[in-house]
Amino acid sequence: MKKFLRTGNPYIWLTACALTISMLMVGGLVALITMKGLGIFWPHTIVKFTLQDGTVVLGEIEKEEPIPQKKGMYRTKLKVGNRDVYGMDFRWIDNTDIISREYPLYALTFERREWGNMYGFLKGLKQDGDIQPLNLKELAPLREESKALLKRIRYIERKVIGKINYQMEKYRLALKHLMTQQYSVKAQEDIEEVKAKVENLEKTYREKEDMLAGLYAQAKEKEIIVLLADGKEKNIPVFNIIRVYAPNEMGVFAKIGFYLMKLWEFVSTEPREANTEGGIFPAIFGTVMMVFIMSIAVVPFGVLTAVYLREYADDNIVARLIRISVSNLAGVPSIVFGVFGLGFFIYFVGGNIDKVFFSESLPAPTFGTGGILWASLTLALLTVPVVVVATEEGLSAVPKSVREGSYALGATKFETLWKVVIPQATPGILTGTILAMARAAGEVAPLMLTGVVKLAPSLPVDQYFPYIHFERKFMHLGFHIYDVGFQSPNVEAAIPMVYTTTLVLLFIVLVLNLTAIVMRNKLRKRYRTTAL
């Protein structure tokens, strides 16, 4: 036995087991997220149950599970939708209660702008009090009509009224600025002029608002009548329908097409219904933009720090203390950085920027509140140790012989560093950047204090000067996951969104990392050290 232990074989097994378990955990995690996340766009079959007590229900089967303590008995979780009618999306049904199970061909899924999905049969169209029969084909032109209407409404809301608001804000600040100036005839004239402009704008604003109200009224004119499973009828304005489809009728290819369309919608559109429906585009945009701003801030800063520490500082107790502190910074809980970002960046730096540059709009803060810049800088602080440590390693890996070669040609220390050492250390620097980016993309806690929001009204990049708005609040995938999963009004229905959003976050981190890794490998090849 002792001999057997001495061979070391059991330890090899032990280490191999540990590795296997970790691999399984990572693989399982990714597999779980992928499975749960990618499933939600698949058009589910609609099933119609007739129960023993005579009720009829219609919906998608969510899952089936055995009932504990009752052997051989199962119950089904059915997504019945129609939240406005039934009050909840899901219903548990004991399988023993089910008398019949049908898959009606003409059962439809209605995706709506509010109240989630509706399942039922199309019965007719109600227009100006008249009711006439309607089938799915005849609905299509009506839907086109309402799409055009929506486009017009969106245009007026976003572009026209957005522009008016933008100008109003400018005039309001100008007015405030004029008021602070000393009284003079000229100033008085200017004030009058601005006031007149504001009045003008307000007039157009009211006009546009009336127009919008008219459009919204028009949107409600046409309603379809949906026959629900229990025989009730329900009216929905055509305008509120996003998509209608008959999943029981679809073939495999139609389903695949539908799936891809939904997937595209998910990554390219804005969220609806308190984030539980629609897409996550603003969150993707916010995450990527934040990671980029963070990288731009952290890489030069970290590299310069590392160059000083490794190349210039004497190796004395102070330098060693600083090095230890920098490494330990990586272990500080991230929320602490959030608090620091709030106190230093937002209240101190942002507050002072507001006082100097945006004093007209005070007390409403411009930079003195959370925003994408402050969040990015906070994360940059959080990831600085990673970059410093990796860069230091990269620098120390540059062989002494190469440095001596440069010195021997009459180069100064600075020239040697700049022309030979730092280029050769770039793979190390990039490794640090990769790690920093991965860490930053997944961090949520500090962001909650420094500028992330549930729903940002506009992206940090738009067509108004200065085009990139560093002070704006933004959406972030990590926070979105938390928000959808635990803060939304309809958590149960939104759970699949959590997995899908997580999958997107994983994918983005992967893409960012792969880009950096490819770059690093190219550079490594170029700057590999002497073959001999």
Binding site: V402, E404, G405, S406, A408, L409, A411, L532
Partner: protein, 265 residues
């Protein structure tokens, strides 16, 4: 042949000296690595330093372009003069000194850049940026290093893609490109095969017409083949310095004789 070696002074009078080393003592921390070296080096000749490992010969040539400044804990006493100027005087610009005294190291250490960029690195640092001037310097240096014909069609290829011998000649070309007066070579062939070594030796003999060459070598045949003067070092002391043929055929010191006949070292 007449023996220049003075018994007591340990200072041979060489013709037309360019370097005067006077009473040079060097400490690594508390260890005395050079114990009072007294030596002149002839202009436009090849001088070789031989001796067992750790005898201080590499340390000595690193004193000539002040590479030892980069090593921590080094303290130097005595004088080194090049063209009559004390190179350890406070007013001396070290980078200017290193431009005048080039160096090639034991292991080829080309920069991870193209062949062209390697050769013009020195001139670039000196502030030459004109493309035509750099091209000319590059060609001239590579020709002197007997490498031009081998690489002229692939100047943009990474220097690391060349063979060891070619890499070492790139390093020599790189040193020549800054037009030094003296070239120091620290065991330049120790990592190379005999054919590459022969090429470099031929080249060094060519270089002698324009430059003063000082070479540290473990290979006594090499010293005998190419150098006019040879110094034998042991334990941080210059045991014997003489015309090469004299050292190898008629050594005056017992230690020298023992070393070159292979009784130790």
């Amino acid at each position: 042949m007449e023996n220049y070696y003075g018994k007591k002074e340990k200072n041979m009078i060489v013709p037309d000296p360019i370097v005067n080393i006077i009473d040079l003592i060097l400490y690594y921390g508390k260890i005395k690595a050079l114990k009072g070296i007294h030596l002149d080096i002839a202009k436009k000749k090849i001088t070789s330093f031989i001796g067992p490992s750790g005898c201080g010969k590499s340390t000595l040539i690193r004193c000539l372009n002040r590479m030892n400044d980069l090593v921590e804990g080094v303290k130097i006493e005595g004088t080194v003069k090049i063209d009559g100027e004390d190179i350890y005087a406070p007013a001396v610009d070290v980078t200017e000194l290193r431009r005048r005294v080039g160096m090639v190291f034991q292991k080829p250490n080309p920069f991870p850049k193209s062949i062209y960029e390697n050769v013009v690195y020195g001139p670039r640092v000196q502030g030459i940026h004109k493309k035509s001037a750099l091209d000319e310097i590059c060609e001239k240096a590579l020709k002197k290093a007997a490498l031009w014909d081998e690489v002229k069609d692939r100047l943009r290829v990474s220097a690391l893609d060349l063979s060891g011998g070619q890499q070492q000649r790139i390093c020599i070309a790189r040193a020549i490109a800054v037009e030094p007066e003296i070239i120091l070579l620290d065991e330049p062939c120790s990592a190379l095969d005999p054919i590459a070594t022969a090429k470099i030796e031929d080249m060094l003999v060519e270089l002698k017409t324009d430059y003063t060459v000082i070479i540290v070598t473990h290979n006594m045949q090499q010293a005998a083949r190419i150098s006019e003067f040879t110094g034998f070092f042991m334990h941080g002391e210059l045991v014997e310095f003489d015309v090469t043929t004299e050292i190898f055929t008629n050594p005056h010191e017992k230690q020298t004789e023992d070393y070159i006949t292979g009784r130790f070292g």
